[in-house]
Amino acid sequence: MSAAAEAHEHHGPPPIHYSSRVSPALLGMLLFIASEIMLFGSFFTIYFFDRVVNNGVNGVWPPEPFHRPVFVAGLNTLILISSSASMHWADTSVKKGNRAGLQAGLVLTLCLGATFLFTQFIEYSRLGFNTSDTSFAATFFGLTGLHGAHVFVGLMILLVMTIRAFRGHFSPEHHHGIELGGIYWHFVDVMWIVVYVTVYLL
């Protein structure tokens, strides 16, 4: 049967026209991440504004008597970076048709992400200050809490991905759910590196 005849026999809507050369699902994820960057950007703006204003008063950051748990947060950073590596392992595995690798990678990522969040809660409980204690405390909790909320959402996505992986929903040809979830998880990781360097180190 010729291509023209096939075209005439086709019923239903025409194929999707990808004018932007990016699939709608990927484009949606990119727009979502762009909006997230703007959200984080507004929190960073508040943080830097507070830092510039208050740093001029006594020249010390963070202001006395606050201390940032740099070491614990550093360990948490390593945990999150490791989770990105395991996420990538899961993605590579599904592309190669390695189902066990996919499942192990997702479970490991889920565990590392949960460990990160749990450690952050422990850190919060031992900080010795709360959101109402000066603007530094408010911006500190604002930025780290905003990121923590994103990790929580990422964990929910990972949970769904893991359940689907164990039910055999993904294959080397069909793994868009892994691809998009992975992009989100790496984005959360990148944002944490920015938050850690900005809030804890510099």
């Binding site: 010729s2 291509a3 023209a4 026209h17 004018s19 050369r21 990016v22 990927l26 994820m29 990119l30 991440i33 970076i81 990105s84 590596a85 996420m87 990538h88 993605d91 590579t92 892994i178 691809e179 992975g182 992009i183 790496h186 984005f187 990781d189 990148v190 590196i193 920015v194 360097v197 180190l201 510099l202």
Partner: protein, 217 residues
């Protein structure tokens, strides 16, 4: 601009780049605060340059359209202000020859940058539509099987959209002469040549020299 979150693998690579980027800034800041600022500025400039200079998506977008029916020759014409030029009409007739030729003329709705960003395209589309209708009517009067449509403001994108739906055998791009053509300045012909895998003819129409001989435009 290159999108660092185009795929999971690229996003993962971006994680490591971010680590390297901030590690260098932190190390420099620990040595000297101003050194940290200098490293930040230099690295940011390098990253911005890389993102913008390596962002050409043409490697993913070379188009090879499906062939048209054997008894039909399809010609896609992209032109804007020169759409009524006699050189263009002559070239279309020449390319059509004695074959059964179908011609699709695409007029990109060219707009000013300010109106483009304000999403105000109505006037541009109306003007393009008027030029198109006059030219298509004149071409039909000479016996050509012609259709016309107003395309995207970006000429290459307008051609790509038409290639997908019309599936032409060859492409004609009509421009003003060099020095007066924005399309030539922007490298539209070269971009189209690299993106579309089909014969491409570039026709130069000098409307000033043609004077009253040109079709309505």
């Amino acid at each position: 601009m290159r999108n660092p979150f185009r795929s999971e693998a690229e996003a993962f690579r971006f994680v490591w780049l971010t680590i390297g980027y901030f590690a260098l800034i932190v190390i420099a800041s620990l040595i000297n605060r101003w050194l940290g600022v200098a490293v930040f500025v230099v690295l940011t400039a390098v990253v911005a340059w890389w993102l913008f200079s390596h962002g050409d998506p043409k490697e993913t977008s070379r188009q090879t359209p499906a062939p048209s029916p054997p008894d039909e020759h399809r010609i896609l014409v992209a032109a804007n202000e020169t759409v009524g030029g006699p050189e263009l009409l002559s070239e279309i007739r020449k390319r059509a020859g004695d074959r059964h030729a179908r011609v699709l003329v695409v007029c990109p709705a060219l707009n000013s940058p300010l109106r483009h960003w304000a999403n105000d395209e109505e006037q541009a589309r109306t003007e393009a539509q008027e030029r198109l209708e006059a030219s298509v009517a004149s071409m039909r009067a000479t016996g050509l099987d012609v259709e016309g449509e107003v395309g995207d403001g970006d000429p290459v994108q307008a051609i790509e959209d038409a290639v997908r739906t019309f599936q032409p055998d060859e492409l004609i791009i009509s421009t003003h002469p060099p020095g007066r053509s924005h399309w030539l300045e922007r490298g539209v012909v070269e971009k189209a040549r690299s993106r579309f895998d089909m014969p491409l003819i570039h026709v130069v129409v000098d409307l000033d020299a043609d004077g009253d001989d040109s079709l309505p435009s």
